[in-house]
């Protein structure tokens, strides 16, 4: 799966949690979930559950801590998909 394809999936997943629609429209790899999209930090755990369901993977606590940007999320998901 290319990074561009992953971003499309990721956008669908985070959309319900986004509080800043303008930033969401401009979403790039550099986008930060909390600082840019104004997602409530409590909802990050929900996003991770949704990511796990969408890609049929499991994300450990250490990786969860790092998943604050689109770039980090893509790296974590790509690594998980690569090692089944």
């Amino acid at each position: 799966m290319t990074n561009a394809e992953l971003i499309v999936s990721l956008k669908q997943i985070v959309q319900p949690y986004v509080q800043d629609q303008e930033a969401f429209a401009q979403l790039s790899e550099e986008t930060n979930f909390i600082d840019d999209l104004k997602i409530n930090s409590a909802n990050l755990v929900d996003i991770i559950l949704d990511v796990e369901d969408a890609f049929d993977i499991e994300i450990e606590d250490d990786a969860m801590d790092q998943m604050l940007t689109v770039k980090a999320a893509i790296a974590i998901i790509q690594a998980k998909i690569a090692t089944p």
């Binding site: 319900p16 949690y17 755990v45 929900d46 559950l49």
Partner: protein, 425 residues
């Protein structure tokens, strides 16, 4: 000089009507909100009827966002938010901007909250999948869930809390809010209570055999307070909310005033003298009613209507006798007495607030709602009071000035509030 306290807004989500307009229409007409519940039958309940507020997804979305409603299964919080927000808007108040409203708080009670969410969580926990609880399991199951959600929606900056006194919860919340405003520690308090619906809440009562199993084929006749054929209560659910405000604040805002809270009393029977976990100590009940009247500064003869606790169990005659003894009034001299539970069932933690909304609507619009399913008055009650003191049809323009509203609960706890029609001076 302590503040006088008035009611300037109300909201309700009851089994026979959601919103003040539908609810008022239903209680005037004597419309029952009790229905056959397939789920209870499928789960082997003895009582297969119950009351659930008719709430649609579209309506819920007017109060909570799609994000808030993700994985949401705490029905009591939904009912509480509908009633609470409605009461706030009905009082003509706006949602706070960036700065919280430091003068307004909330006491929203419940017996137990989010039982269905807790059930979901328990299964996940037992499977070792704690992470799957997500971010809202706590908010949906904490007792203070309703007050927390309401505080966020409205922007409340005064005390935000919850109370729990079993089936006396709703009336107690009103008295706690009253005390706080009276003492000058808040100008406005949103007082209410809510209860989830469904088997996971009602099951324990079914097991105790305090719910009726004799009317599964005739749901609207199932809840029969004060009737000779009363055979246990019918479970209900929902929420009621009342915006209490100092008279001074209400006048400053030019707010509509529904009624004045003259006073009241809460006490307990200590599970002595016949009182138990589930039955009231009659001496404590009488003391509570007596103290409420004294606290309100009225004479027993001034009470026009009693909005009773009256659940349709074997305790109804005892409650009527307690009222008669305290008021010193019997036969034709007894006030009108009715029970909303005949129409909505026993809404458990939400009962006191939903029934108080009904009491205040009656005062404000000058009608006495009918106590349905009481064509066959219990003989022990008929020996105490004249049968025509129990209206079975709505009574209009009776000039009602004062209503006494009581609520009693498991744990042998009692509450009574005295409400008075507001007379402009």
């Amino acid at each position: 000089m302590e503040n006088r306290v008035v009611i300037t807004g109300m909201g309700v989500a009851a089994p026979n009507g959601v919103g003040l307009t539908d609810f008022e229409r239903a209680i005037r007409a004597g419309t029952s909100g009790i229905q056959y519940q397939e789920q209870l039958a499928a789960m082997n309940f003895s009582c297969c009827v119950g009351g659930i507020p008719p709430v649609t997804e579209a309506l819920i979305l007017q109060y909570l966002t799609p994000l808030q409603l993700r994985n949401f299964s705490s029905s009591g919080i939904i009912y509480g938010c509908i009633a609470g927000v409605d009461a706030w808007r009905d009082a003509g108040l706006a949602f706070a901007d960036d700065e919280p409203d430091w003068d307004s708080g909330c006491i929203f009670g419940t017996g137990i909250s989010g039982v269905e969410k807790m059930r979901e969580a328990s299964y996940l926990l037992d499977e070792g999948r704690v992470k799957r609880l997500g971010s809202t399991s706590v908010a949906q199951t904490m007792s203070s869930g309703v007050s927390a959600y309401l505080s966020g929606i409205l922007g409340l900056g005064n005390q935000v809390t919850t109370n729990s006194a079993a089936c006396a919860t709703g009336t107690e919340a009103i008295l706690m809010a009253y005390d706080r405003i009276r003492a000058g520690r808040a100008r406005r308090m949103l007082a209410g209570s809510s209860s989830d619906h469904g088997p996971y809440l009602w099951g324990g009562f079914d097991a105790m055999k305090v719910m009726t199993f004799k009317h599964n084929n005739d749901p609207t006749a199932a809840s029969r307070p004060m009737s000779a054929t009363a055979s246990g209560f019918v479970p209900g659910s929902g929420a009621g909310a009342l915006l209490l405000e100092s008279l001074e604040s209400a006048r400053e805002r030019g707010a509509k005033i529904y009624a004045e809270v003259l006073g009241g009393s809460v006490n307990a029977g200590g599970q002595r003298n016949g009182g138990t976990m589930t039955a009231p100590n009659p001496l404590a009940v009488r003391r509570c009613l007596h103290d409420a009247i004294a606290n309100a500064g009225i004479h027993p003869h001034e009470i026009d209507v009693i909005n009773g606790h009256l659940t349709a169990t074997i305790k109804d005659p005892e409650e009527v006798e307690n009222w008669a003894a305290v008021l010193g009034r019997r036969g034709r001299d007894f006030p009108y007495i009715h029970s909303l539970k005949a129409m909505v069932g026993h809404c458990i933690g939400a009962a006191g607030s939903i029934e108080s909304v009904a009491a205040v609507l009656g005062l404000y619009h000058d009608f006495i709602f009918p106590s349905i399913n009481c064509e066959d008055v219990h003989p022990e009650i008929a020996a105490i009071i004249d049968k025509d003191r129990i209206p079975t049809q709505v009574l209009e323009n009776t000039g009602t000035r004062i209503v006494a509203k009581a609520g009693f609960g498991f744990g042998d706890v009692n509450s009574c509030i005295i409400l008075k029609k507001h007379e402009h001076d």
